[in-house]
């Protein structure tokens, strides 16, 4: 299995490459007033208005540093929620040090044994050279509340209609 690695604070995390639509350089975001702090803003991804969530802010309350390797991982909403149509709604995740993909065997991942109510999106853990790698479950990343904020249903109904 191929995973895309990135970093939050000093620790390495990973996303399954299958779930990643594309990695893009950071752009200029339109900030959303009165939105949660970890919602960085919205930007134009290939003609689609896409909200961006700052993973570092979400996990550690410190925003991502502005570096070359700080990039946006684009996820297709259809990969997270099978009820969504493919290629219409995307979610951007801002994270640091997105420069590597690693190929790891599935069985190397083990359960961390911890359930953190405030961070249900933390997944299994694997040992790699130079430390631990924890998977991020993007499906659990999008809580109902966040989903209401970022992808309101009314809009979708209108779009469908």
């Amino acid at each position: 299995m191929l995973v895309l690695t990135f970093r939050i604070a000093e620790y390495s995390y990973a996303l399954k490459a299958m779930l990643v639509a594309e990695v893009v350089p950071p752009a200029i975001y339109k900030e959303l007033p009165r939105s949660p702090e970890y919602v960085k803003g919205i930007f134009n991804y290939r003609g689609t208005i896409t909200p961006v969530v700052d993973l570092s802010m979400l996990a550690t309350d410190a925003p991502c540093k502005s570096m070359m390797s700080t990039r946006v991982i684009i996820l297709d909403l259809a990969d997270l929620d099978s009820s969504e149509p493919r290629g219409e709604k995307f979610l951007g995740l801002l994270a640091e040090n997105i420069t590597e993909t690693i190929s790891i065997v599935d069985s190397d991942f083990e359960s961390s044994g911890l359930e953190i109510p405030d961070a249900p999106w933390l997944g299994k853990v694997a040992r790699v050279d130079g430390g631990m790698l924890q998977l991020i479950e993007p499906g659990k990343l999008l809580s109902d509340e966040l989903r209401m904020v970022l992808f309101p249903k009314e809009d979708m109904v209108q779009v469908d209609g």
Binding site: L2, V20, V23, V24, S69, R71, T101
Partner: protein, 739 residues
Amino acid sequence: MRFSLRRKIMTIACGAAIVPIVVMLVLTSVLETRLADSVATEIRALIKSHISQVTSDLYEQCQSANELLTLETERALMVFNTLFEDGGEIRVLEKESVWTTINSRSDKATLGLPILMIGNYSMTSAKRKNNPLPLLAEAFSISGAYGTIYQRVNIEGDMVVVDSTTVGNEKMAPGVMFYSLDNKGQRNSVIDGVLAGGTVYEHEDGDDGIRYVAFHPLRDGSGLIVGMFAVYMQDDISENLHDSILKTSINKSGFVWVLGTKGVNRGKYIMSRSNNLKAEKASQVTDANKDLIFQIIVKAIRVGEGKLISKEYEWKLAPDEAGRMKLSVYTYFEPWGWVIGSGVYLDEYNGVKARLTGTMAELGKWLGLAGFVLFVITLIVSFYVSGLIANPISHMVGIAKMIASGNIFDAKKSIKMVEKVCPNARKAVRNVHKQENLDETGLLFLSVRDMVDSLSSLIGQVQRSGIQVTTSSTEIAASAHQLGATVGQQAAATNQISATSSEISANSGELAVTMGVVNDSASSMASLAQDGQDGLKTMIRIMEELSDSTSSITDKLSCINDKANSIEGIVSTITKVADRTNLLSLNAAIEAEKAGKFGQGFSVVAGEIRRLADQTSVAALEIENMIGNMRVAVDSGVVEMDSFASDVRHGADKASKLGKKLDGIMRGVRDLNPRIEQVNDGMSAQAQGAEQISDAMVQLSDTATHTSEALGEFNRAATQLNEAVQGLRSEVTRFKVSE
């Protein structure tokens, strides 16, 4: 302990106040004791005379009652005799009648007796029961006396009552036997008297002793004594006497009493009037009281009838109770065998005594209180007044002590303090011009104040004068010393001057020679300066060239800087490209993963691309570091070149200034030569002058030595003066007029 003036005054005042009170208290207590004693005696006498009077009154009353009773009984007897004489013949019939006797000696209750006839009346049990003889009833109505008829039973004279008008008298009820012999076998005196034919009078025993009975024989026609009759008065008299005695009261609980001395009544109360009759009666049974009562009876009988006896004793109402003191006066009344007395409890009179002594004690208490108040007032007043007298004096004593010890300053302070503190002193100060208003302490205060002022000013004056004299003498001595020193110095100076002037003359010669040498040196120095100036000019030129080349190096360095900047731009572009390439390789790898097996080859390519991008990034980073180092080096080179250029300019300036100075020196040296000639001439003239000065100085030195000796004499005199003044000062210093 020192007995100060103040204490003395207070002691006298308090003593004067307290002594009369103490004397009064002593007198009061003596008087109280005496008064209590005399009052007690008086009261006793009064009580005694009172109860004596009561007792003698009672005695009189009993006597007159007795007389009355005797007279009445005799009169009644006469009535009975007359009636019996008129009543008809008295005879005894042969016929017998049966009597049921009331008899204490014989079991035989019935007795047959010949019938006794008085006139027409027969004395039989049946006839006379509840129907007394009319004769007796008539006699009772006339005389008020009860009559009883006895019939003689036998020759011995035993009698039996056959008729009676008595009421409630068991001894004279019909059928009662009256034996001629008593229980001890003695003949009864009454029966004997009657059988002898006479009338017998008797105070009846067993009752209260005042029943007076007359017995008279009854004779038949032949003159034989066949019976007798008894007469006694109704109880009116005795009842009246009882009432009269019982009504007599003495004080609150005083009472009269009557004791029997005969028969069954011996030692018993016949009458008593007290608030608690039962208790009194009960109290008789106690042994102590019984003894007392018998003592009283025995004494009364021994002393004789009508004699008053007084006795004081303790009377107990109950055996276990505390007794009360009692005073009684009693006498013996012989006819009835009575001891008549009256008594009071003494403690009832204690109240009078207590009130009297209480008043005295009250007086004593008030005297004590008044004494204490008087003592306190005297203490306060004397404390204040003694303060007025003693305080100023003690202050004056303190001040005098200070003056004696020479501490006049403290004495003055103390006077000021006294003026503030002591009212008497304030008054003295206010009335300083009206001294006739002041008392002795005020005058004393003023005098001491004046004395201290005068003394203070005198001592102050003396001390100041002493200080002035000391100062002056010290100044004189100092001046003399200075003068001596000056003269010495002068001598030394003249000696020195003379030596110096000799030296000057010698040196002047040597100087002239040296001047010649200087002249030669100056000439050679001028040529050396010329050479120096030429060298300097060459140096200045070289420096200017150096400055020019420095500025050209600076320009080149800035050119290098610009180049470095452009290289940085290129490196940045390379970095961006590398970054993009990395991104591309990532996306490619992701896409390859998505493509599954078909993407595997592509995935390898993507990895290679990413590796190239990484290497490019590392190379770009290294170039960037090198450029940074180079720029730092260039910048520091520019700074150093700038400072070098300024140093060079500075050096050129200094060299040109040095050249100018060397010019000046050369001109100076050229001018010097003619002046040195002039100096040489001056030197010779100076040598001659110096020798003349030396001679004059020797003469001056001699004079100075003389002056110095004279000053020594003067100095000794000044020292003596100073010593004298010091002696005076040390004496005066004892007096302290300021802090």
